[in-house]
């Protein structure tokens, strides 16, 4: 048994605890330990990914209790991919948080960051449905703290909404688990898959209820319409690096959908395609709502948040086909959209730091480092809107390709293509207001005066107070580091494009493994001491 499987959960827990107990008053020590912890976490994830790439499924029995009774962690290729993605994002965004000085705006930033990573990593690794609930709670508690980091009335209000909607989600999750336990008598995912497959079709009404309730929970987490209301104000009001880290949190919902509905409730099981039938329309509406929001947004934070919703729509369209090819496309798009939305949030935060903390798309004088930030925004917007040459384009092509067999393909194709146009126009307008029009400011003002109209919006506000709840560029520890962090995310997008073929081979292998759950079930239930057979 490889004890490294539990390391991604234990390591952040230990480091977070150490930071809270011993380093509360020493920012430098916190930064060093927290960054070192995240880097080691990335190393461990890469090692586990290498280990899992053999195609075998590894099971870690906590306390060595036999499987349906004890809690198991499991590592397969999908879990390993998500671990690496999460750890990479954590390292890069943490560099940004340190470089921009956001981590000084309140207490316990680094400790909460580590606990957040513990929850995310645990949710990817666990093989037990109730344990999944517990890890969801761990990552949510940490995210509540991170979301209101720095305080301020707007952020606290958005925080209350975020906490309440997630508490309702947790309540639903428990209801779903109770229903499934009452029907199957187990909470281990592999064991549940066996029980569901053996269930006579006439006794499945309660099981269907459970499957749909669970779907709703994951849809809240993934922000699918109509359960997306919490996302725009949460992401737009959260500190920039926190919103960027949240990009991996909505993917926890997607991950859980893929895991549960390929393993426990596959399309040929007794619940049939009930979930896939619900997912497709929801995903299409999500895509439309998100991209129209990008088109109409007047606040850059909201534009970034709504483009995240749009990318989740595209992603879930691919997921809802539930074929090996479509899951492979969805996984490729998952990596792409995580990096792209994180980059967008960080760039929005860079702009906010240089505009006195405001992100409304109104005319303001030219900001500092305008050219470099404009180039980065351009790259991130191209990726998020799905234009060539970056990976968003390839991802969208893949999604279009896998929906060809669907009877609704005309509707799906036209939705994806038309909403892409919306996103392009929306991002183009945001970019021109932020970066292009400031060069014309004097002419526009002169024109307004000539026509007797009031002049457009005034100058950038002066530097904020040091304890203001918005980050200012003059408080930044190292602006270079923030550029390096965003550059690393964009480099990830470029790498996804250049190495598209190896990436697709990897996601194909993952999808193949997902659609053959027998080795997984065997390794959890049969290959153990005191096994049934």
């Amino acid at each position: 048994m490889n004890h490294f499987i539990i390391a991604p959960v234990v390591l952040p827990a230990v480091i977070g605890g150490l930071i809270i107990l011993w380093m509360r008053h020493d920012m430098l020590l916190q930064r060093v330990f927290s960054t070192a912890g995240s880097v080691i976490l990335l190393g461990v994830s890469l090692y586990l990914a290498f280990y899992a790439s053999s195609g075998e499924v590894f099971v870690y029995r906590l306390g060595n209790w036999p499987a349906p009774f004890g809690i198991v962690l499991m590592l397969d290729e999908l879990a390993a991919m998500m671990l690496v993605l999460g750890a990479f994002l954590a390292v890069v965004v943490q560099l940004y948080a340190i470089g921009s000085g956001w981590d000084r705006k309140g207490w316990h930033f680094h400790a909460l960051w580590q606990f957040q990573m513990m929850g995310v990593m645990g949710a990817f690794l666990t093989g037990d449905a109730f344990n999944l609930f517990v890890f969801f709670e761990v990552l949510l508690i940490a995210s509540y703290g991170l979301m209101i980091h720095g305080g301020g009335p707007l952020r606290l209000r958005a925080g209350v909404q975020y906490v309440i909607i997630n508490l309702l989600g947790s309540t639903l999750f428990l209801a779903a688990l109770g229903t499934l336990y009452a029907v199957t008598g187990t909470l281990n995912m592999a064991d549940m898959a066996v029980k569901v497959a053996e269930m006579p079709p006439e006794d499945t009404s309660l099981l269907r209820t459970g499957a749909v309730l669970l779907m709703l929970v994951f849809a809240i987490k993934a922000a699918l319409v109509p359960l997306h209301f919490w996302l725009p104000s949460t992401y737009a009001n959260a500190p920039g690096p926190v919103a960027a880290l949240f990009a991996i949190m909505s993917k926890v919902g997607i991950y859980s959908i893929i895991r549960f509905y390929t393993l426990v409730f596959p399309g040929d099981s007794v619940v049939e395609s009930i979930v896939a039938d619900m997912l497709l329309p929801a995903a299409l509406i999500t895509l439309v709502v998100g991209q129209i929001g990008v088109l109409g947004g007047r606040h850059l934070g909201r534009v970034a948040a709504l483009s995240t919703i749009g990318s989740i729509g595209t992603l879930v369209i691919a997921v809802s086909m539930f074929t090996p090819d479509s899951i492979s496309a969805a996984l490729y798009y998952t990596i792409h959209s995580t990096l792209a939305s994180a980059a967008l949030f960080l760039i929005a935060d860079m702009i906010a730091a240089r505009r006195g903390g405001e992100l409304w798309l109104t005319l303001r004088p030219k900001i500092r480092d305008s050219g470099l930030i404009a180039a980065m925004f351009f790259a991130a917007a191209i990726a998020a809107a799905g234009m060539p040459p970056l990976s968003g384009f390839l991802g969208k092509l893949l999604v279009l390709d896998v929906t060809r067999a669907d009877p609704w393909w005309i509707g799906i194709w036209s939705t994806i293509l038309v909403t892409s146009l919306f996103a392009i126009i929306g991002f183009g307008r945001a970019g021109s207001t932020l970066f292009w029009l400031p060069f014309q400011l004097q002419r526009i003002e002169a024109l307004a005066e000539e026509e007797g109209r009031p002049p457009p919006r005034g100058p950038i506000p002066p530097k904020l107070e040091p304890d203001e709840h918005i980050q200012d560029i003059d408080d930044a520890v190292s602006p270079t580091m923030t550029f390096i962090a965003v550059g690393a995310l964009l480099a990830g997008l470029v790498a996804m494009t250049v190495f598209a073929r190896p990436a697709l081979q990897m996601t194909d292998a993952i999808a193949e493994q997902l659609f053959d759950p027998q080795p997984y079930v065997d390794s959890v239930l049969i290959e153990q001491e005191g096994a049934r057979k």
């Binding site: 517990v134 707007l154 209000r157 508490l167 309702l168 209801a175 688990l177 009452a182 007047r298 409304w360």
Partner: protein
Amino acid sequence: MEALVAIAIGAMSAAGVYLVLRLRTFPTVIGMTMMSYAINVFLFASGRLAVNKPPILDPYAEAAVYTDPLPQALTLTAIVISFGMTAVVVLLALGAFIESGDDYIDMPDADRREDGDTE
């Protein structure tokens, strides 16, 4: 007994949903508490209702009579988590009330205004 438990769960959920849909934080917190009570009773009942049976196997008993212990463990975990979460949401609501001067859940006008000033 089944009918009684079902009615209790239903009544508490209905009250909880009604209160959560209110626009102020205090009723919402109470509603969340009601919902979590309802869910705890529901989880408890998901292992089948039984009277006078211990949640452990007694090797000396004549026939093996016991009730499923797992839902009790789940309920215990759920109670602890919902206590913690209620504390978080109460403190957060208090913070929002003190910072912004009222306890409405929806966003204030300042969030919609173009310049985003909070004064």
